[in-house]
Homo-oligomer: 264 residues x 2
C-alpha cells in the first residue's frame, strides 16, 4: 500500500498466530525471533491461550472480524515483506486468512501448522485440518511441519510420501522437521522438499530437553530471512542455525519445558 | 511459587497490557524492551486493539476470567521479578489486577497509566479512572504518567501538585514525563517524585517526531531494571537511556507515528 517514507527501514513480517502468556510460543516467539534477526513484527491474534511451560489449559479463539481487522490494519499501513502463520485454533479464521493471502499474492507465506501444543494437547479438530489443507496450502510458499503434523495433514506415512502429498495439495515447499522422529538418537534431520522431491537436508545434534516454541521460532526465522531477501534454501538454512542457537541457549524458568532464548 | 531449577536463569517481568497489531505499543513494546535488556516477558492481555501507526480504531477488552487465568498461569509457573501494567481498557479488569497484585505483595509494580492512544483517542472513561486510582495506586511502586495523565488521575494542575496528590493516593513513586509539556522547546524534562517530593530530574534533547509506544517502552524498561536488581533511581535513569536510544533510532514504517527501534 505504501513504501516507507523515511530511512531507516526494516523488513516487516506479519505474524498470524496465538498468544502464549508464558512467552515461549506464539506471537511472542515471532516477535523475539524477528527482533533478533533485524526485522519488525506486525501481529494479528488468532487465539488467546491459557498456558504455562507445561501445557495449554484453554484456547479462546478471537472473533474472525477482529482478527481480520487487525491484519488489515497492518497490511494497509505498512509494506509487509512476508507473512507467517502459526496456531489458528478455529475454522472460522481459515477463510479470513485465505482472503488475506489471496489479496496479497506477492507476499511470501510461511505456514507452521500448529496442531498440538508442546505438552501434547490437540489443538486442531479434523474439520479444521481439512479446511486448512484445502484453503491455505495452495497459498503457502513454505510449510514447516514435523512428521506427525505432516502425516495428519497429508494422510501419508513416510517423510517422502508426506512431502509429495503436501506439494500435490499446493504447498510450494516443505521443511519437514525431524525432532519427533527417532531415526537417530544423536541427531535431528530436517528435510526440505519442493514439488521435485527432496532438495536439501540438514543434520543437527539432538538437544537434551523438550522446548516450548521451537517450531514457532523456526518458522518465524524462515519468514524473517525471506523478508531480508534470502532465497528459500538460504532462508531455511539460516533459520535452522538461529533456532538451534536459541534452543542451545534455552532455559527452564518453571515447571515444564525449556524456553528458547532468542537473542541475536 | 518456585525457583528456577536449572541455570541459566533470567529475570521475568509479567506485563499486563493491550495488544497492538502494528507492534509499536502494548505487549510487543514490553516484549521487545525486556528482551533487549536481558529479561524475559510473561504477558496477560487486557485488551485486543485494532490500530496502526496513526491511531487506534477499536478496543476489544478481554474477559476478566481469561485475563486472570493468563496472569495466574505465569505467576503459578515461574518466579516473577516485577509486574508492569499498561493499557487496561475495561473497569472489569481492575478488580482482577488488584487481586493479583495483592496476592503478590513483594513483587515491584510499575504502572503506565495509558489513558489515550498516541493518536489521541481517549481510552479511559471516568469510571475506569476512579477505579484505578482507588484500587491500583495503593499497590503501585512506580507510576509513569505524562503531565496530562497525571492531571486526569490526580485532579491537580502543576507537576509538583500532581505528584503530591498521586503519592497521597498511595503510589510510592511518580516518574512524571515531560514530552507533552512544552516548557522548553529543545528539551524534555522527566521528574521522579517520592512521598517526600521531587527526588531527581533528568533533561533530554527533545526528539523531532511523534512516537508510538514511547511510554510503554519507558515503563517496561523501568520494570526490567527493577527486575535486574537496580534500585529505583538507577532503574529510572537506565530506563530513560534505553528509551531515548530506542526513539533516537526510531523509524516510520507507515503513514503515522514513528516506532521505537528497541534493540540492545
Amino acid at each position: 500500500m505504501n513504501s516507507p517514507r523515511n530511512m531507516p527501514s526494516h523488513p516487516i513480517v506479519l505474524c498470524l498466530g496465538g498468544h502464549d502468556p508464558i512467552g515461549g510460543a506464539g506471537i511472542q516467539a515471532d516477535i523475539e525471533t524477528l527482533t533478533a534477526l533485524g526485522c519488525h513484527a506486525g501481529t494479528a491474534v488468532t487465539c488467546l491461550t491459557v498456558q504455562d511451560s507445561r501445557d495449554a489449559r484453554a484456547l479462546h479463539p478471537v472473533q474472525a472480524t477482529v482478527f481480520r481487522a487487525q491484519a488489515e490494519a497492518v497490511l494497509d499501513d505498512v509494506q509487509v515483506d512476508a507473512i507467517k502463520i502459526g496456531l489458528i485454533g478455529s475454522p472460522d479464521l481459515i477463510g479470513a486468512i485465505g482472503d488475506l493471502l489471496a489479496a496479497h499474492p506477492h507476499i511470501p507465506v510461511v505456514f507452521d501448522p500448529v496442531l498440538a501444543t508442546g505438552g501434547g494437547t490437540d489443538l486442531a479438530q479434523t474439520g479444521l485440518i481439512d479446511a486448512l489443507v484445502e484453503q491455505l496450502l495452495p497459498l503457502t510458499d513454505l510449510i514447516t511441519p514435523n512428521l506427525a503434523e505432516a502425516r495428519r495433514l497429508s494422510g501419508a506415512d513416510t517423510a517422502d510420501d508426506c512431502a509429495q502429498a503436501l506439494t500435490d495439495l499446493g504447498a510450494d515447499a516443505i521443511l519437514l522437521t525431524g525432532t519427533d522422529v527417532i531415526e537417530d538418537d544423536a541427531h535431528v534431520i530436517n528435510r526440505l522438499y519442493s514439488a521435485n522431491g527432496l532438495s536439501r537436508q540438514w543434520q543437527w545434534p539432538r538437544l537434551p530437553h523438550s522446548y516450548h516454541g521451537s517450531g514457532c521460532t523456526l518458522a518465524a526465522a524462515c519468514a524473517a530471512h525471506l523478508a531480508l531477501g534470502s532465497d528459500l534454501v538460504e532462508a531455511v538454512a539460516r533459520a535452522q542455525h538461529f533456532t538451534h542457537d536459541s534452543l542451545r541457549r534455552g532455559w527452564q524458568p518453571g515447571h515444564g519445558q525449556h524456553l528458547p532464548w532468542r537473542r541475536p
